[in-house]
Symmetry: C2
């Protein structure tokens, strides 16, 4: 009793929290912490609501060096579009890691998740993409297709973007939006193979359950970030590509083995390398990143509670600095 | 985007949500639902923060027939008293079970948990205590000692209460508070055995790890509700009492086997009865409650996510009816 909780809604968060190098830096710090000892990241609490064709996930993580820890609630109710509501929603809370008191509630409807997911793509590109990227490509035409290109551009200021999606009209709309977000020439291409062939940085952002990128399309001197697969059964990259690559990096080994691209390489008995490198290990120098300019590297992002703690910490600082949000007595 | 969330703090909730028969009724409905099919109650998400001597639990449950589901966050930071803060805190959220949209945030600092826990004691007394209770007794002198007596009094209007605690001064203060809450004569007794001997309804509310109630003290024509044990290792009632009783009832069999009084009877190989009755089964008539006026019955309450969903649903209605809380755009 008697402490204050800051409450901010989606509009306030969109105003105060931008996809910029500050966000990339704090997410990078969270990944680095994952590579150190002391992180506590319990299994996801997951509940199905079959009557409503819904599900809800709750994630959290404690990271030494962060003053707070986030708890994120992510409902997915897949009949919502029938009544004009988005399927995905959610909110994030930040609690003091010293006292457990609630500090902030972010009614973000998933916005902070979008930002922290894109920021992880930037961290992967920063440490794994070739030093010089002139053309980036993105597979998929959703929110993350746009944001991943904007995030990667912060660390590799490429001038050209190729977009491929199953629906060419959506790919064109996505390319047009990317041109508004960042100073590039963006073009929708008719074949995924063409996008892959001509780029040095590829990001896949689809919910595919069959590979959309064939191993033979990949080439030396490129980096691939696969961020669409974060669930058992999902698969964007042909599994043998993970073995053909000079380096495969997970965001969190234990998650990628179950939910990421790696699950399929393990199932197909192609992956025999044991525990893969983690992005945090590359950041802290425990593992070597890109081995040479001509190497082929792949990074598998499934999303971690550590990123949520990072973005919620950043959001509290940003909203406070902006004088936004509503303070309520608990 | 564009939906409203009701936010209420502890003071508003204390004003609008009272321990009354309405609360008992909705918690009873939740227990009855647990006995039917379709309830989804995932395992608790639990995270330790060893650096801060803290822990946080997240619970949820979906109950068919309720429009919403609660997610409850319960931090426990055990160094807080050193800096003048309570160890236990927490908040509760209510989400639509049809769309997953957040409906309400209750910054209750554990108040709603106190109320729903006491209400479960009333439900147990309603179905299991002798029809006529003239004297009730309570072991323990904390918040629940007071609330359990007030709750039980709603369904068994006894005139006398006996209180025992390890600290007799605290027992006297507790007895005085109970006299302010309900129209009874309350008295602190020097020996736990005396309190047990003279009552027809006993509630234990301690965090004991060794039994505070001996089996030989219990007698025919009484009911015992043990609500203090909700964690591995905790134990209030001598395990052989569970076997000696004419009926043992759990709130949720799977939880009591791990966290309740039952864990010790199972460990000691005294309990050989298989899955015990659940309170919901007694409410719905699937299992018989008190077998005779002279029987000895025991109910083991560990706390369920279903109660949280019930109290959060009730709180939203109560706050809305009172015109309280703050509506914020998500």
């Amino acid at each position: 009793m008697g402490h204050e909780v800051l409450i901010a809604n989606e509009a306030e968060l969109r105003g105060a929290v931008k996809l910029d190098l500050g966000v990339v830096e704090i997410v990078e710090k969270a990944f680095a912490a994952l590579s150190q000892g002391g992180v506590v990241m319990p299994p996801i609490l997951s509940m199905d609501l079959p009557d409503a064709h819904g599900e809800v996930d709750v994630k959290t993580a404690y990271i030494p060096g962060f003053d707070g820890f986030a708890i994120k609630v992510s409902p997915g109710f897949f009949d919502n579009p029938k009544i004009g509501l988005p399927s995905l929603n959610g909110l994030m809370m930040l609690f003091s890691a010293r006292t457990g008191l609630a500090q902030a509630l972010f009614l973000d409807n998933g916005y902070l998740t979008d930002i922290r997911t894109a920021a992880a793509g930037a961290v992967a590109a920063k440490y794994l993409a070739p030093g010089s990227v002139t053309t980036a490509a993105v597979i998929g035409t959703g929110v993350q297709a746009r944001l991943q290109m904007a995030a990667a551009h912060l660390v590799r200021p490429f001038g050209r973007v190729l977009v491929w999606g199953r629906d060419h009209e959506k790919a064109k709309a996505c390319a047009a939006d990317i041109e508004k977000l960042i100073p590039v020439e963006a073009e929708a291409v008719e074949e995924a193979a063409l996008a892959v062939r001509d780029c040095q940085l590829l990001v896949t952002t689809t919910p595919a359950r069959e590979p959309v990128v064939k191993a033979e399309w990949l080439h030396p001197g490129m980096h691939v970030t696969a961020m669409g697969s974060a669930q058992a059964g999902k698969n964007e990259i042909e599994p043998k590509a993970l073995i053909a690559a000079d380096l495969y990096v997970s965001d969190r080994a234990a998650q990628c083995e179950l939910l990421g691209e790696l699950q399929h390489a393990i199932k197909a008995k192609l992956w025999t390398g044991g525990a893969p490198a983690e992005l945090g290990d590359v950041i802290t120098g425990k593992r070597i990143g890109r081995p040479s300019p001509g190497a082929l590297t792949i990074c598998d992002l499934t999303g971690t509670g550590a990123q949520d703690t990072a973005i919620a910490t950043h959001a509290l600082a940003a909203i406070t600095a902006a004088g936004g949000g509503t303070l309520l007595e608990s």
